[in-house]
Structure formats: C-alpha cells, structure tokens
C-alpha cells in the first residue's frame, strides 16, 4: 500500500519513530514475547517529553497501568465503557507497543462464526488436497497465538453467545486443537500471546456475556474524560492534528471551542456547569464526537462558507454528526438551545451565533 496516501495507518506505523526511540532506550526487563518493557509501553501511551513521545491516551493513567499489568498475566483484558471513549484506540496502542502489530483484529458482529476466531479453510485446496496445513487459513487469533502477539477482538458482545464461548477454552487452555490435521494436532500459544477485547455493555441488542467468559477477563472501564479544561485542550489538539492534512488555514477560536466542549459535556452529563438539569439525549456525546463536530465545522467554515468559524457552524454540524434521526433527541437538543444556549447567548457572541443558527435550523 502506498503509505503516503493511506487514510489511516496502524499505530505501529504511525508512531514508528517513537517506538524505535523507546526500544533503543529500553533497559527494563521484558516479559517473554514483549517487544518493549511494561514501563516503556506505559511511556508510549502516556507520553514522555524527554524522548518526545506524544501523549496518546488521556484522562485515566492508573487505567493504563492496570491494562498493562493485566496483559502480563493469564487473564485477557476486557475494555468496557460507553461508545467514543477511545477503547479501540487504547487497545490498538497496547497491541502496537507490546507486539509491534495492531492488525490482528477480529471485528465482532452477528456475522462472526467460530472459524473467525480459530481457523478456516482455503476450500479449493481443501477439495484438491484434503486437510493440510497449506489449506488451512488461520484466524488473526491463531496468528497471534503462533507468534506470541496480542490479538484484538472488537465489540465482543456483538458476537453470538456460542462464538463467545469459543473464547473460553482459548483463553483458559491457550491452545487450538486441529483434529482435521490428525489426532493430537494443536497450536499452543507462544509466550506473549494475550487477548484485548472491547465491549459496550450498555448498548441494547448486544449479547450477554457468560460468567464463565467474564471470569477469564480482567475488566477495565474506560470513562469519559472528567476534567473539562483538559477535555478542551484535547479537542483543540486533535482538531489541529486533523486539520494539518487540509490545505486551508483554519483555527478554532477559543470561544467557539468553549461552545463545543460545553454543549457536549452538558448533554453528556445531564448537568450544566451552574448545576441546571439538562435532558440527556440517547446519542453518544463523547469526546470523539466533539472532535468530529469541531472538525466538520472548520471544514464547513473554511471550504463552503469561506469565513471564520463561529458558533453557527457548530450548530449546523451538531445535528448531522450527533443527532442522527431521533425525534426524541432532537426535542432534547431543542430544549437545550431554548434554555441554556439562549441565556448564554445574551452574554457571549459565540453562544449567540450558536443559538441563532440552531433556531433557524429547526425551521
């Protein structure tokens, strides 16, 4: 693949320089199969100014410690939490730092069958030669086991229960039997193998996890960022990173950024800074979505309107990016605009523009 034009590179390629620097400096003891020592993994994720390592996962440092420690043990790591809290990012970063490979991923869905976790067959070869190692198509998990790497399973709870159950023996025995290749044939996991799964436990329509499976995972909850000032800084940074790829000069004014952060925090927590109670929409009001909205608003202002971004651009993007055709959520946003935004608009230009645009958008 042409690296320069790829939309998004895997973490180990994106941060190849940082990983190289860390490896060069790494003196700490390494668990078997790990490319970096646990402390270096921590530095990779939480940043280190002396080695110019960027801070990649924000808001909960002890969580990162616990994740690393879990992966050093026998248990798998299960990251749970609301959508948009950077569970997948954390899982990718951990895999990239520990195994140097974040691509051994199974994306959980209703369509996933046991073969996706174990192995499948190249049916042409299977028919021609019968079961043979050549005809066997290993799953990312099997690959990870053979090479002592981290396998990632996204949205595990979206898989059918029987598929989830396949994980149980895999995690406790750390082996996959291959009876087709002959009695006693199996692949035993090389040291360094472990599994990071992500799941959203609150979403409706997901499959309940069996307690037998739960027992084989250490659970870690990834929460939305609690500190408002910090969230603002983070959004500004991420938007700036994204805008670097575009050929327009666009910067988010501080007051407009304030509007983005406040709208998302207020609607996420159901409480305004002054304590006023706000109806919470069902839509995901995560930091990631806030970045999306701010990003889209900048593009709107820069490419279409050709004017400096204001609260009005935020208002226009909010509906499309966040409130995806839910009548009830639209009503809650309307109430928010009519009460909170209107009052704030009397004192602040960015809020006033936000309020006006949101009102005209309704019509």
């Amino acid at each position: 693949m042409d690296v320069a034009s790829a939309q998004k590179l895997p973490a180990e390629r994106r941060y190849a320089d940082e990983l190289a620097r860390l490896k060069a400096e790494d003196r700490g003891p390494k668990p078997a199969g790990w490319r970096l020592s646990p402390r270096a993994v921590r530095r990779f994720i939480l940043g280190d100014s002396t080695l110019e390592i960027s801070h990649k996962f924000y808001g909960d440092d002890p969580l990162v410690d616990r994740c690393i420690v879990s992966l050093m043990g026998q248990q798998g790591l299960m990251l749970v939490g609301e959508p948009g809290t950077a569970k997948s990012l954390l899982s990718e970063l951990l895999a990239a730092a520990i195994s140097g490979d974040s691509l051994l991923v199974v994306q959980g869905s209703a369509g996933v069958i046991e073969d996706h976790l174990r192995y499948g067959w190249n049916y042409a070869l299977l028919l021609a030669e019968g079961p043979s190692e050549r005809a066997l198509v290993p799953s990312p998990v099997l690959n990870a086991m053979q090479n002592g790497k981290i396998a990632r399973i996204e949205e595990l709870t979206r898989c059918a229960p029987e598929v989830q159950d396949a994980m149980i023996s895999l995690l406790s025995e750390k082996t996959i039997a291959m009876p087709e290749l002959g009695a006693g044939r199996e692949v035993r996991a090389a040291r360094g193998f472990n599994v990071i799964a992500t799941a959203n436990l609150r979403d409706l329509g997901v499959n309940e996890m069996s307690s037998a499976l739960k027992r084989r995972f250490n659970f870690e909850t990834v929460s939305p960022i609690a500190d408002a000032a910090f969230e603002k800084e983070l959004i500004a940074k991420q938007v700036a990173e994204r805008m670097a790829d575009y050929d327009i000069e666009a910067e988010m004014p501080a007051d407009v950024l304030d509007v983005v952060v406040s709208v998302f925090r207020d609607l996420r927590t159901g409480r305004a800074e002054d304590g006023a109670v706000i109806a919470q929409p069902k839509s995901v009001m995560s930091t990631a979505e806030a970045v999306n909205v701010a990003h889209a608003a900048l593009l709107d202002a820069g490419y279409l309107a050709e004017e400096p971004p204001t609260g009005a651009h935020i208002a226009r993007q909010l509906r499309g990016v966040v409130f995806k055709d839910d009548e009830e959520d639209a009503r809650k946003l309307r109430a928010y605009v009519d009460t909170i935004a209107r009052v704030r608009g009397r004192k602040n230009r960015a809020w006033a523009a936000f309020h006006k645009a949101a009102k005209s958008d309704e019509r």
Binding site: P38, R39, R42, L46, D61, P62, D65, R66, I68, V69, S70, M72, G73, Q74, Q75, V80, G81, L201, R202, S211, K214, R215, F217, N218, F219, E220, T221
Partner: protein
C-alpha cells in the same frame, strides 16, 4: 528566605545538634513518620519531648501512657459558650500516630513530655467550625491540593496527593536513615507551604500558633537534647525558635474542659470528613505492625498477602467468597502494578487498582460493590480502650460498664442488631431500659427498629423489641456533652427531663399535661423508676392548676394506662402514680362543675372527653375510681341547665350506666324536639350529645328511635331540608356498622326491606330521563309485537 533556599535551609536545619534541637516534621497518623520518630528518640535520648497538641491537654498525658489505654483514643475538649451550643473537638491518637509514639518512647526513657500548641479552647472557638466535630491534633494544610502536588503527581504517575505521599514517604517506612527521612518530610511540607498563599496561612491562625510553639521551644532549650514533633508545615518557622517567638509567653488559662474517650477507625478516616491524616487507618496499621515486627523495612509482599487473605476471609464470612485463582490474580496484579510504578511493594492504591481489575466484572462506577467492601475493610472498625483511671467523665464509664453488663457487644464500632424479650426476661427488660435511657440522652447508641411503642401507644401488645446499636466515639462525645446533667446515666436522664420541663415552662406551656406525661413515660421506659417521684410532684402541681376538662380527662386515662400496665412501663416500688391518678380524677370531678358554663365552640372536646371517660369508668377502671363521685358530678351538670348537647350527653351516660330509666332519654329528646326553639337546628342538640357519647342508644334506647322518627316525620319538607346538614353532621358519629343497625331498626319499624332505604344516586338530567323513558316504551312495544311479553319483568309499583 523563600523558595528553594528555604527548602534547603529546612532540609539542613531540622537536626541542630549544636543547639540540642531536633525537629521531627511529621504527617498526622503516618506510620513511616511514627517509625522515624521512634528511632529518633531511641537514638537521641532527649531530656524533653515536645509535641504539637493543645497545651491544656497536658493533664491527659499520664492517662494516655496508662497501660489500660489502648489506641485509637481521643482527647475530647469541651468549651461552654456564652451564646450558642456547647462546642466540642476531638484530638485523636492511634497506634501509628507519631504523636502517640513520641509519648510512649519519651516516657520509656524518662523524658519530660509537653504539649506545645495553643489551648484547645482557642482552637475550638476560633475555628470556622460552627458544628462540633473532630479536629486534627496537628493542623494540616491539605496534602491533596495545589500546583506543587498536582505537578508531582503528574510526574510520578500518581492519582492524587494521598498516593503521592505513600509513594514518596510510606515506602520508606523503617528506613534506618531517619534523619534523611524527616528532613525530606520537612522539605516536602515546606514546598507545600510555599505553594499556599500568605493570606490563607494568616487567616488559619497559624502565625499565632507557631509563635506559641516557638516560645515553648525557646523555654525548653538549654537543658539537654529536645525532640519536637510537629506538623511538617510548621518546620520553617521553628528552625529559629527565639526569633519566631519574640516576646510571646507560652501557656495561659483555658476555658475548655477535656477528657479522654475511646475513638474509632471509622472516625479517623481522613476521607470520612475528618480533616487530617491518612485514609483507611486499618491499612496503615497493618503497615505499622509489620514494620514493627521486622524492626525495620517490612516485607511488602507479606503485607499484601495478609491483607488480601484477611479481606477474602472477611468476605467469605459475609457470603461473598473470592476464588483462590482470583486472589492469586489480585496479588499478582498488585505486585506487578507496584513494580511498574517503581515501588518496593504494593501500596494502598495498587491494591485497590488490582482489586478493580480482578474482581469487578462489568462496568465500574463510583459506587462499585467490591471497591466499597475493600475500602471498608482497609478502613477497619477498631475501637480503642481508655484506662479506668483516666480522667474519663464518669458518665462515659457508667454507660460503657452498663452496656457491657447488659451484654451489648461494644468491643468495636460495628453496628449490630439485638432482639429483646422484654416481657419475660428481666435481663432483657433492663437492656431495653438502658437503650431507652441512651435515646433519652440524645445519643446515637441505639435505635428501636420495631416492637411496642409505648410513647405513642402503638402496638403496645407486642412481645419483642428489636434494636440496632453501636458504640462509637460519637456516642462518647454525646455522653460527655450530657455530663453536665449528671455523672451516671440515670442521673443525666433526670437532668434531661428537668431541662425538658424547664423548656416547657420557658415556652409558657408548664401546664401542658400531655407533654409532661410523655416525658414521664420516657422516664419510665428508661427505667428511672422511683427517681421520678420528684417529677411526679411536678405533674401533680400542674394537674392542680389544670383548667381544661378534656386535658385532665386525657391525663386520667393515660395515668390509668400506666398504672395498669404490666410491661416495660410497669411501676417500680415507691412511685406513687396511683395517688397522682386519684389527684387527676379529683381535679376532673372539680372541673365537671365548669361544664355547664362551656360555650358552644368548646363543647366538642368536652363531649369527646366524656366519651372516653364513660368508657374508662364503665370498663377496666370501674374499681380504681370512686365512680359515684363522677355520677354525682354529672347529675349536678344536669341540674345546672347546661347546653342541650351536654344535657344529651350526660343523660345518655346516666341511662347507659343504668342509673336512670331509658325513658328519661326519650323524654329529654322529645321535650327538646317539641320545644319552641325558633331555630330548628338547636332542637337537635340533645341528639348530638347523645350520639357523641353513646351512639348505640339511638337504636337500643327505650323509645329513642321512635321519638326521633316521629320528630323527623312531623317536619315539613322545607324544615327538613333546613335541618339536613346538622342532622348529617350529628349522625356522622355513627360508624358504617352502627348506621346499618339504625337502618335495620327503622326497617323493623316501618316494614319492608333495608335495600329500599338505600339511596341511589344517578346523575341523570331531565332530558336523559325523558329519552330513556321513550326508549324503554319503544323497546317494550317491540318485544310485545314479537310475542315475548313474558320476558318483560313486571314493573314494580309501590311497596309490592
């Protein structure tokens, strides 16, 4: 000197061998600091040990050193204010407090021990603390705030100031280089102080306190080595005591009284509202005892294993078993986390983090069950012990001894349940009385969760009382606050009752019989028994002055209930409730003569009182009172030409009691009905009075129903309608069952069935009725044309 230079000066200046001055900057309840202080005193062998604690608590030092005193304990200091409530403050010590260790070690080598802070009275009174509550012995600026702490946390990867402290200092527990350790604590605290604004330091009163402490140091120096145990924040100003003290004189009078009380770990937890020290004391106690056993740095793995096993054991007992693999994973996680975080072993935060990883399956939130259980376990529930010889207020000793004698488990601060068989087991009754007494004293010792409520006369027939109880420092504090009323629990209870009575007088309600009797009941439940006789005479004098017939009647009933009670309220020897009851009865007879003078507005309560009295005197209490007196009094009322209502009531009582023939009542009613009172409603008075006291007479009384019926039949439609509201009001005294009886009696009189007298309500307009009738006629015609006439029920007419 400021900034970095000051921090270096502190680091270099805490040990001044040339001046024989050795400062020990500490953090409250820190085992690492306690260990350093221990080593310091053993090595320096000072002649004096000065400790930052209010100087007026010094008289408690011998009791603190008594072998019978087991920490956690606290010095409770009480300050009487001219206005507002009594203020109290607690200065706690636990086994791993540097101050406690300084006292113990100092005493061992025979050093002079002194407390050097300003008096506790000054601190209590100056505090913004309007409410009473625990106050730290060593005042600490929060170790959890400020740019300095935040920056350090970020650099070292700590979650908060507590973890930072553990990481920097508790990890060094047992370090043989106690000099370096204490110098570092001093430097660290000085850095914290540097990030605090001067206004904040001044407004907290620290400047005066530091001047006082410096004066104490200045006076103590010169006679040999002096060790000073102080909060780390005060290190810098005390480096040169003479300069800081100036001409200030140490000591002085204090208005506060102080005692030693048992203290608990729950109250000691810094995160439970107590302003200083470290959270979860049981964890630090484990740290301390392991380090003590080793005589130096502890084996961290053993601590983590002991704590994990202890927790698993406690959970298994509570029915939340933790599997062995889960325990192993917990330990492995904790150890690995500690290694990742560059620590010698798993600290509190590592253990909690490991627990979160291992045991919590699912999303965590603020109040996760496992984390909560673990935190409670690390907090512990130990309760101290105060030596018998200590200057503990006698009331606390009395209550504690009684609680133990009555088999309440007060060995720790846990809340327990107890069921008391109060009617059959005298020991249980005694325990119940003690619990009631503790309630009367306003302590939080016990709470009755179910069982008979004698105070409000609810479910008084129940056999068992269920209680929730726990002995806590709060209880001791509340007892001490009650100590002004008396030295024993019963004495203080009497004092409380006297105060309640005084409060009633102050409100101008000194003759409020209902309140006074409620207090009497409380006293009886608390087992005050014969001691209440003084209180009885007060009630008697209130009774003698009582001018209210209904209140006095109620008092007679209540007193009779108490007198007749055989349960927990039952009377002890020597308490003359009988006499009081007779006095109330006599007063009642006297007040009967006021009845004819009653005005119409006040008559209803009197009628109600007559009803309960007639029920009482004709029933259970017939033998207790001279009922003839009551009858005579009522006869006098009859003769005095009272209001028709009263006339009806007293006549009804007389007839019901068989003292007058039934015809008297009907004759009385008839004369009222047929009288010439222009207002028809006034003629109903007698009936109203009768219904209020003896409703059954309406249908059982001789000729009563006939008289009423005739009167109503004889009324014109107009007069009946005018009378109807009053009539309904009067008849509302009847219960539904009684109303049925009346209906049946009327049916017997007029013939027919009761159903016919039942009124049917239909909200039918004239138009609806007309349309309905037309429809009915059309239907009938249609059925008739179909030859189905026999299907149509006969239309009933008249009385058929």
């Amino acid at each position: 000197m400021t900034g970095e230079a000051l921090i270096h000066a502190v680091r270099d200046g805490v040990m001044q061998p040339e001046a024989d001055l050795y400062l020990a900057p500490v953090r409250h309840h820190s085992p690492a600091c306690a260990m350093a202080v221990q080593k310091m005193i053993r090595e320096i062998r000072p002649v004096k040990v000065l400790i930052e604690a209010p100087h007026d608590l010094e008289h408690l030092i011998p009791h603190l050193l008594d072998p019978g005193t087991v920490p956690p304990v606290a010095a409770a200091s009480l300050l009487d204010c001219k206005v507002g409530p009594r203020l109290a403050a607690y200065y706690p010590f636990c086994a791993h407090s540097p101050e406690w260790i300084a006292l113990q070690e100092g005493a061992k080598i025979g050093a002079e021990l002194h407390f050097i802070d300003l008096g506790s009275g000054v601190k209590i009174a100056s505090g913004n603390q309007k409410e009473t509550g625990p106050q730290p012995l060593v005042w600490e600026r929060a170790f959890d705030q400020g740019d300095y702490v935040r920056a350090l946390c970020q650099r070292l990867g700590c979650q908060d100031g507590y973890e930072l402290w553990d990481h920097l200092f508790e990890t060094r527990i047992g370090d043989s280089d106690w000099r370096g350790f204490l110098a570092d604590v001093g430097a660290y605290c000085t850095a914290l102080r540097a990030s605090t604004s001067l206004e904040e330091i001044e407004s907290s009163g620290d400047i005066e306190r530091e001047a006082h402490m410096a004066a104490c140091l200045r006076d103590a120096m010169g006679a040999g080595p002096v060790v000073v145990v102080i909060g780390g924040f005060h290190t810098a100003p005390l480096l040169d005591p003479a300069k800081t003290a100036g001409k200030i004189r140490a000591g002085g009078q204090t208005a506060a009284q102080s005692y030693l009380i048992r203290y608990g770990y729950k109250e000691l937890d810094a995160l439970m509202g107590y302003g200083a020290g470290l959270p979860q004391p049981a964890y630090y106690e484990a740290l301390w005892s392991h380090a003590q056993a080793e005589g130096g740095a502890p084996d961290w793995q053993v601590i983590a294993r002991d704590l994990t096993q202890g927790f698993a054991k406690e959970m298994r007992k509570a029915g939340h078993g933790i599997s062995v693999p889960a325990q192993i994973e917990l330990l492995r996680s904790a150890e690995t986390l500690a290694r990742l975080r560059n620590r010698p072993g798993a600290l509190r935060h590592d253990l909690v983090d490991a627990l979160t990883s291992t045991l919590v399956k699912g999303e965590t939130s603020g109040a996760d069950a496992w984390t909560e259980r673990f935190v409670t376990f690390l907090r512990g529930h130990a309760l101290g012990e105060v030596s018998d010889t200590a200057g503990q207020p006698p009331i606390v000793t009395d209550a504690y001894t009684q609680a133990r004698a009555l088999r309440f488990d007060v060995s720790d601060g846990l809340r327990r349940e107890r069921t008391l068989d109060i009617r059959r087991k005298p020991a249980h009754l005694a325990a119940s009385r003690f619990a009631h007494a503790m309630i009367l004293l306003g302590t939080d010792f016990a709470m009755r969760t179910s069982g008979p409520d004698f105070l409000n006369s609810v479910q008084t027939g129940l056999l068992f009382e269920h209680w929730d109880y726990a002995w806590s420092p709060r209880v001791e504090g509340q007892l001490i606050e009650s100590a002004v009323f008396g030295d024993t629990v019963p004495a203080a209870c009497l004092g409380h009752l006297a105060r309640a009575r005084a409060a009633l007088s102050a409100d101008g309600r000194s003759d409020d019989l209902a309140e006074l009797l409620a207090l009497l009941k409380q006293g009886l439940l608390a087992g005050l028994g014969a001691d209440l006789s003084g209180f009885l005479s007060e009630i008697e004098s209130a009774l003698r002055q009582s001018g209210s017939f209904p209140e006095t009647a109620q008092a007679v009933c209540t007193l009779h209930a108490i007198e007749a009670s055989r349960g927990p309220l039952s009377l002890p020897e020597g308490l003359d409730v009988k006499g009081l009851m007779q006095a109330a009865f006599q007063r009642l007879i006297y007040l009967c003569d006021d009845l004819p003078k009653m005005r119409k507005e006040t008559i209803q309560p009197c009628l109600d009182a007559l009803r309960i009295l007639s029920e009482l005197l004709s029933g259970p209490a017939a033998d207790s009172f001279e009922t003839a007196l009551f009858d005579e009094a009522l006869d006098r009322v009859t003769e005095a030409d009272p209001l028709p209502e009263l006339m009806g009531a007293v006549t009804a009582i007389a007839v019901e009691g068989g003292r007058k023939p039934g015809s008297t009542l009907s004759a009385m009613l008839s004369s009222q009905f047929n009288g010439s009172a222009p207002d028809v409603t006034a003629r109903l008075g007698g009936l109203r009075g009768m219904l209020a006291v003896a409703p059954t007479l309406l249908w059982t009384g001789d000729g009563v129903l006939a008289v009423v019926d005739e009167f109503l039949n004889g009324l014109t439609e107009e007069a009946f309608l005018a009378l109807l509201p009053d009539l309904r009001l009067a008849l509302s005294a009847l219960s539904p069952r009684e109303a049925d009886s009346v209906a049946n009696a009327l049916v017997r009189r007029h013939g027919g069935s009761a159903a016919e007298f039942t009124a049917h309500h239909h909200d039918v307009s004239e138009e609806d009725a007309r349309r309905g009738a037309a429809l009915d006629a059309a239907l009938r015609a249609s059925i008739r044309t179909d030859g189905l006439e026999s299907w149509i029920p006969l239309q009933r007419t008249g009385a058929e």
